[in-house]
Assembly symmetry: C2
Homo-oligomer: 332 residues x 2
DNA sequence: ACAGGGTGTGTTATCGGTAACATGATCGCG
DNA sequence: CGCGATCATGTTACCGATAACACACCCTGT
């Protein structure tokens, strides 16, 4: 079978050395305009395509930025991805993405796999990892950025916010508007770490007001709208024993809201519902869901900034708190 | 600066050749149990990590499967990704994903970039590409799979369904239930090709019943719930001039539904609304949105099947129609 | 006229694994 | 007891591009 077209073939066809071809195609050093033109034309004619693998090998620079996300099936992480990939469009770096399914063990396996590709930077979602993951990552001398969280022990840079503090905003708001019988809806413990931090933040904020908060588990992480809808539906009108449902995310809140509507419960009259993350669905649905804006897109963009700075040699660890703001809607 | 730990280092430490180390770590050929154990231990102790780049280079097998998706910020494409990556978990192939933002020009640039990584297979969303993309892809002797569509001129394999035929199901359903004043809500022409096919399918089906259908453009592709909500809100109660809104996707339908609710319009009494894709939001919201199930997850899984077969040497092009089924909801 | 400095191109070695072939030791069996 | 088969390991060359160095040539200024 015919081999791939390499620089050697182009060089032979033009009558120059492979080195000249290499230089001509990268146009960063002196090659005569005439020769360069001839090489370009010939390369096209022969159907030459550049081999990043060979370059990555020779230069020991992969051109990859590796990133782990809990899930791609989440509008917020997808937004972060978009923000980041958009900002990286100019650079010749390529994103290598993997999903952890909200499991640190899966994250470890993924990081192992990603590291074999020699990424030039590593972006992890969250600040909670296995010891092996921490060791693997630290052993590399590449920039590491944790995002969507402000880790207690950062591995390097961090771009995020305090999930607990953000959720406390919600509880403060509910308490200020007279709600007292609070419930939290989220995933079962053991999965999503950021969800757990939100839960703890909510519980702590409630406790600060002398209130207890019931925790309702809608299923294994990741939980979405259908899980919370099923949960609330199964509780029936008993859910009105609460006067506020604090949900771990907007989709979860939307599921609860829809289920309440089916039950004929008045939201926010009987029951307030709050979400988290300012997903599109929260702003579009009627009534709009009270939520917390965490600027998912902006996280990606800030990560890109930190990344570029790191590539420029700026190695001082940055820990950026992008904050989170309450966005009141019609459900509270 | 200290170099990375290579097989050479491990070999020297153990006192064997690099070849033996290579064999021991891949455990596919005969190495004595004792030697293998010692090599494994030493490799761990030295912090050796495998370099996929070197292997990809030497063997000319990258271990990558490249995939283009219009957007990751779309639950259905994310599901397809999940289905595919889940099914590929066993193989040592790694997915290399890129987003085209629904633009064939961007797709071409992306394909160019992806091809430099020497993927062993290529998965494209849709059957509409630039001539250059077609040429680039065809020049490679790797399996190509187009998905989410049944292209007129497939580049190789295809796993999808007819967007036009699927949307015709919706129109038939609406006509059968007495709707006559139809409008289609989608993106402006020129972007999303699958959206355009759905529009044409809807228009053709309406025409077959002697009905005209008004096309309402909610904005540039990709359009989502906020665009359709804004569109319907701007039309106000004039939207009731129609008795059915055929939406290009479930999010678009949900946006329209929410806007109708704000306007106090009765859905489905005054106005029917239909979506496409059976997104989670369509099944959870109240009322549930009449939609078309295209089994996004299953597309990914079937693509994985085709891929594995192709790697086994099965090169006969497969064109799989996974079909689409109408899922009536409460909005029609 | 000649040193010094660009400019354009070639030569060599190399990145880290692994295919292919080679080699020495051990073993089974007629 | 000898010979081929099997096992465990070593040697060599190489994948495609490029860094580093080398070199010939042509300027330009004093």
């Amino acid at each position: 079978m015919p081999m791939r077209v390499t620089m050697r073939d182009v060089a032979a066809a033009v009558g120059v050395s492979t080195m000249t071809v290499s230089r001509a195609l990268r146009d960063d050093v002196a090659v005569s305009a005439e020769t360069r033109q001839k090489i370009r034309t010939t390369a096209d004619a022969l159907g030459y395509t550049y081999d990043s693998t060979a370059t990555a090998f020779r230069t020991q620079k992969s051109g990859f930025v590796a990133m782990t996300l809990p899930s791609l099936n989440n509008a917020n992480f997808a937004e972060t991805y978009r923000g980041l990939s958009g900002a990286m469009e100019g650079s010749e770096m390529q994103l290598l993405v993997g999903a952890t399914n909200y499991r640190v063990a899966k994250e470890e396996a993924l990081v192992r796999q990603l590291l074999t590709r020699n990424p030039e930077a590593l972006i992890l979602t969250g600040g909670h990892h296995t010891a092996a993951t921490r060791a693997l990552v630290s052993a590399r001398r590449v920039p590491v950025i944790e995002m969507w969280d402000l880790p207690a022990r950062p591995l390097g840079h961090a771009v995020g916010f305090s999930n607990a503090a953000a959720m406390a905003l919600v509880v403060e708001h509910l308490v200020a508007t007279g709600r007292r019988r609070l419930a939290f809806i989220g995933a079962a413990a053991g999965g999503d770490q950021r969800g757990a931090e939100r839960r703890e933040g909510a519980l702590a904020a409630a406790a600060a007001h002398g209130l207890t908060m019931t925790v309702l588990e809608a299923g294994e992480a990741p939980v979405s709208m259908r899980h919370s809808a099923a949960l609330v539906a199964s509780m029936g009108r008993d859910v009105a024993a609460f006067d506020a449902l604090v949900c771990v995310s907007d989709p979860v809140a939307f599921g609860a809201l829809s289920a309440c509507r089916r039950l004929g419960l008045d939201v926010p009259g009987t029951l307030a519902i709050t979400g988290f993350g300012r997903f599109e669905v929260a702003t579009v649905c009627e009534p709009a869901i009270t939520t917390v804006d965490v600027c998912a897109r902006q996280i990606g963009e800030r990560v890109a900034d930190v990344l570029m700075a790191a590539f420029e040699g700026d190695i001082a660890p940055q820990h950026i708190d992008i904050g989170a703001t309450l966005t009141p809607g019609g459900t509270s």
